[in-house]
Symmetry: none
Subunit: 236 residues, 2 copies
């Protein structure tokens, strides 16, 4: 079973936000969109336009009259909310929520998002097993609904390849190749009178070496640098 | 110094996206917005409307004619790009990029975002020290520009409260210092007949730039390199 928690938008107001949410979902491989009582009806041309093709590429969004009906077939549901609620429920960060959902990959799960202005009502939150709160700047906490969907979809997707390593798309040259270049550079600099004082030469060479090793030069780049040296210093 | 990497939007097309990017920034406490050559001019009513108050709550966005000017005072700059480039640069995930920027919290850093349709040009990427690619669904990879800003701002915010930063014991030179050096190097190489074919010159320059930006040269090192150039090329 593919990890694909349902995204449930409760009483969304703007079609644009539904479309942006759909695009964000599909960017991160989620494609089960459920909408509870959209204010402006469904389908919505604004939603289609803002989805940049996502609504046409995913299974049709399903429309429900109530949140209870929208989550009826799900086993575990989390509510996104900005405010603390007077309810005894665990509060997760987006990353922790994605990890929790991931442990339930064999179950049908969902994430619930409230209307733009007001957020979820207490009765909506009560239907959910736990709460997700995005940590935001307390001085400017009004986050767009599609942005919250994006963060959750992103965390769910990242959670799939959790330890994906940082990639380097290049391989540094072997040390001996760099060494040859540095020896030649030293020779050319010596001929050109760069090392004014013999005392300082070892330190200067060490500093030059530091620059070049830090750059992780590839073999091609070492050849380029050799070419630059040949051009600049000539074949004296 | 507060960790506040600059957000640099290059040739953005839609004011709405600039506004959404500003809102996303401020949601996660970033407030240094720089815009390079916005297609529809500045200020933009669409941007103000979409920012939900963010543009009025942060210092005024600064407008630049070129990316080079926009990043002139920064020490370390990362480019967001969806496509792999033929350039030798490390590629980071958003989380790894935020961690890298966090290690440089004492430096002025920035994250660069390209135009909606086309993304950054190779010459833009060449100005940056490293690349960030958001891992997305390969079957639906078209991610909104403001969404990418949101993810980076979110990761930077989360990153602030992460574990103690790695230490780096050096500070890269400001971009303008490196730029001067590269312009001079280009001139010397031109005089020395290094660029055999005019067709290949732009690619060669980009490759040379990639080597030097990746090395994170300090101001002292740039001076050393200028000294080497003077010695090698002479005062012809």
């Amino acid at each position: 079973m593919i990890f694909n928690p349902s995204i449930i938008l409760v009483r969304p107001q703007m079609g644009e936000n539904i479309g942006a949410a759909a695009r964000a979902m599909l960017n991160f491989g989620l494609d089960d969109l459920r909408i509870v009582a959209p204010r402006d009806g469904w389908p919505s041309q604004q939603a289609i336009d803002m989805s940049a093709g996502a609504l046409d590429s995913m299974p049709p969004a399903r429309i429900f009259a109530t949140l209870a009906e929208a989550v009826a077939d799900l086993h575990y549901v989390m509510a996104t909310t900005a405010r603390p609620r007077d309810m005894v429920k665990a509060v997760y960060t987006p990353a922790a929520a994605a990890a929790e959902l991931k442990t339930r990959a064999e179950q049908k799960t969902g994430i619930v998002f409230g209307p733009e202005r007001s957020g979820l009502e207490n009765d909506d939150v009560a239907l959910c097993h736990a709460v997700i709160t995005v940590p935001v700047n307390p001085d400017f906490s009004s986050i767009n609904i599609a942005s919250t969907v994006l963060l959750m979809a992103y965390e769910c997707f990242a959670g799939r390849n959790a330890t994906a390593p940082l990639q380097k798309n290049f391989e540094p040259a072997p040390q001996e190749t760099l060494e040859e270049m540095l020896v030649r550079l030293e020779g050319e600099l010596q001929k050109a009178g760069f090392f004014r004082s013999p005392d300082q030469k070892p330190t200067m060479l060490r500093n030059i070496r530091a620059m070049f090793t830090r750059a992780d030069l590839t073999e091609q780049e070492v050849r380029t640098f050799q070419g630059m040296l040949t051009a600049l210093a000539g074949k004296k």
